[in-house]
């Protein structure tokens, strides 16, 4: 029988089961045998905010070295073993997590699980890959040194969160990378790789028993606890200030932002709706898109969104405009931000914004890899599987009064801290 369900919630397509493995690990599973592929996604607390300021980039080095040799397999042997079965394993480091991903054809699931188990349980951190990975990180830093978007983001972060880990360069600097030794990576692995606060999602052609066996094999023998340091609350600095970094480029790259609400805040969801209407990513009908791009032809990209990290929430956005009109672009964008801060949205905007956010949610769940990533994210946010339905219910319930109050609280008087990279005129 054909199901005709409106795609207003992904829950109709994403049937999440939560299970506890025989060895006591929690897993969220979505079983689907249509494509003979299994995806696993996991995340542990850690990330760049655990780096010492003098060794910024350590977390990145750790994540980059986990697939560079483990157990009896040196780096080349490990990579060959992945190739032999077309197994994909990758690790990444964000601000607050070390996360990883496995994708394999179901016929190779056992071998894939063994390789991921080795990578997490018995990484070698051999000298050769250690030096090579650091050189690669150095090259990345040099490549990004004068890239306008990287430079603007780095400068903005450092000035918005001075002295706080959120302001450090997650990718490191040539100085901090040089200060990292192999022993630092070994120590970082001990602090981060543990079952404590581990979240896991499995999606694809595997049943409960198979998923539990996979997860136990990979994760059950990890130490119960790591040793994470406590990160203090992130104070936002520089509101009302504009810093200019001179770079010989025909365009000015503008990045702006301000403090936002924490995820637990009752107005957080309403603030997301306001930010979406104002300048949401991919929203080709947003106010910023209309005023900056469509009406005035000032920029190709213009965007802004709220980000909620564990120790602070903030708004971050930007645009990129030729130097001669950079100030006009900034003025137009900040006027729209101020207007939303003071007046909220009009009714039509609110309704359209809500319908969009509700209707587009299922599109985040259209591949196994994306489903697994979403399920990990939901767990990291401390939510239950009913969030797949609850999220849209909460957005649907946002009223005009809610959005006005939330916009007022989140955008305040609309003041911004701004970084401009280029040779801007009029600032």
């Amino acid at each position: 029988m054909q199901k005709y369900v409106a795609a207003s919630s992904p829950e109709s397509a994403v049937n999440v089961r939560t299970l506890v493995t025989p060895r006591g690990l929690d897993v969220w599973l979505v079983e689907s045998h249509v494509v003979p592929v299994v995806s696993l996604e996991f995340a542990m607390r850690g990330g760049a905010s655990q780096d010492d300021p003098g060794k910024a980039g350590l977390g990145l080095m750790l994540a980059s070295l986990l697939d560079e040799g483990a157990g009896d397999l040196d780096s080349q042997a490990f990579q060959r073993a992945l190739d032999e079965k077309a197994v994909e394993i990758s690790f990444r480091n964000d601000r607050e997590h070390m996360a990883g991903r496995l994708r394999t054809l179901v016929k190779n699931l056992d071998r894939a699980a063994e390789l991921l188990r080795l990578a997490l349980n018995a990484p070698r951190f051999d000298e050769e890959p250690f030096v090579r990975v650091r050189e690669h990180a150095n090259a990345r830093v040099r490549h990004d040194a004068n890239d306008p978007a990287s430079l603007a983001a780095r400068t903005w972060r450092a000035n918005a969160f001075p002295g706080h880990p959120y302001g450090f360069p997650a990718e490191g600097t040539l100085e901090t990378l040089a200060a990292i030794e192999r022993a630092d990576v070994v120590a970082a692995a001990k602090r981060v790789i543990a079952r404590e606060k581990l979240v896991i999602a499995v999606v694809g052609a595997v049943d409960e028993k198979g998923a539990a066996a996979l997860v136990d094999k990979v994760f059950a023998d990890l130490p119960a606890y790591g040793d994470l340091k406590t990160v203090g609350a992130a104070e936002f600095s520089g509101l009302g200030r504009i810093d200019t970094v001179t770079l010989d480029a025909p365009q000015s790259t503008i990045r702006f932002g301000r403090p936002g609400l924490m995820r637990e805040d009752p107005d957080f969801i309403a603030s997301l709706v306001a930010a979406h209407v104002l300048g949401g990513h991919g929203n080709m009908t947003s106010r910023l898109f209309r005023e900056v791009r469509e009406k005035r032809g000032l920029a190709y990209t213009v965007f802004g969104a709220f980000y909620a990290l564990d120790r602070g929430g903030f708004y971050y956005g930007g645009t990129t405009t030729k130097n001669e009109r950079a100030n006009e672009s900034f003025e137009v964008a900040s006027a729209e931000i101020r207007d939303v801060a003071l007046n909220g949205l009009n009714e039509e905007e609110l309704e359209k914004g809500k319908t969009y956010l509700i209707g587009s949610y299922p599109l985040r769940f259209d591949t196994s890899v994306k489903i697994a990533a979403q399920l990990v994210q939901i767990q990291l946010e401390g939510r239950a599987p009913d969030w797949l339905v609850e999220r849209n219910r909460q957005i649907g319930a946002v009223t005009m009064a809610d959005v006005k109050r939330a916009a007022g609280r989140a955008f305040g008087d609309g003041a911004l801290y701004t970084t401009v990279v280029g040779k801007p005129e009029g600032f």
């Binding site: 795609a7 990579q79 090579r132 090259a139 190709y300 990129t320 319908t355 587009s360 259209d366």
Partner: protein, 430 residues
Amino acid sequence: MTAQPSATQVAHFTLTNGLEIVVIPDHRAPVVTHMVWYRNGAADDPPGKSGIAHFLEHLMFKGTEAHPKGEFSEFIAGIGGQENAFTGPDFTAYFQQVAKEHLKTCMEFEADRMTGLVLTDEIVAPERDVVLEERRMHCDTDPGAQLGEAVQATLYTHHPYGVPIIGWGHEIEGLEREDALAYYQRFYTPQNAVLVVAGDADPEETLRLAEATYGKVPARGGRPERLRPSEPPAVADRLVTVRNEKVQQPNWQRHYLVPSCRTAEPGESEALDVLGHLIGGGQTSLLYRELVIAEKLAVSAWAYYHGTALDRSRFIANATPAPGVALETLDKAFDRVLAKFLAEGVDEGALERAKTRLVADAVYARDSQSDLARWYGSSLALGQTIRDVEEWPARIDAVDADAVLDAARKWLVAKPAVTGHLLPLEAEAA
């Protein structure tokens, strides 16, 4: 309407007005990806009007007589859909991803803008500024992108693949409303289009919806011709150097002219796919092992065969030098790696791993309706058939060591190529 049988669930139809239709069912989620591909791209820009295919792609969002300014985008935003478009050298494509019940409405809008576009100078002028900002952002502020453009312009001395997709800045500045409309009327016809619907859609039902929407667009005679000068055989090695004060990390690249999936002899394009993987696909590739691990001349190195093109295409190698290594050293090192590859022959284990990886990609693609839609759409826009797509894994599997070595000898080893060097300013004095 004619229907062709297909080995898999993928259905293929052609409407009486010439529109080709591909339906790729995937019922896991109640979502569809709806794409229309036009068989024209940046390489079909008239001389002196570079960028017009891409500029028109922007202008296609500006509204029609039936659905004025922004109505289509407002509809998509209102239902929480995703939409966008992209221009390649050989095709231009428009897509929406929406809940399945909105498929017909998307078809109505998309069929409408196949012929109904309305443009005024008030709309065209600011959008031209947007494109110029796009060019500044992606090309003019990035020395690496500038090198890429210069290498491409050097590799193709005559064929329009040498012109950037977005166009040259001075020609974008001169693009007018009339240019866009002339290009639109020439290429945007049902005979020149391929409709791809992937996701929670039934083939027969989709065909019925397409007949009720796209079927109403009148046929416009034969398919518009692509008038492209062909590239003469390369005879010269060329070195292209970009020096820029913003560069702190040099880069090395090498580009060869090689056959595309459309111009290659049978099996040759697949052999080049495998060759690309063996030479430069990942950390176990020859290039990475020699340049990065053994000789420590580079901190990364990769190679890639770009087979998806209508005309003569490219094989690309790229390396990031280790500190203190001159790019001339990489010139020679790359030649040495190629020579070594020929001398030592193909390692059977490596050949199997490369083929396993490429064939698995076809399975992984089945997990994503938008990836599948893009794969089938781009292939058909290049004149390939559904069968060509479906048999690709088998053709990869059939590649043997001799075919790989033949391809390397015929197209790469000691063949004229363009080498690109990205350098900081101070290297001049050194």
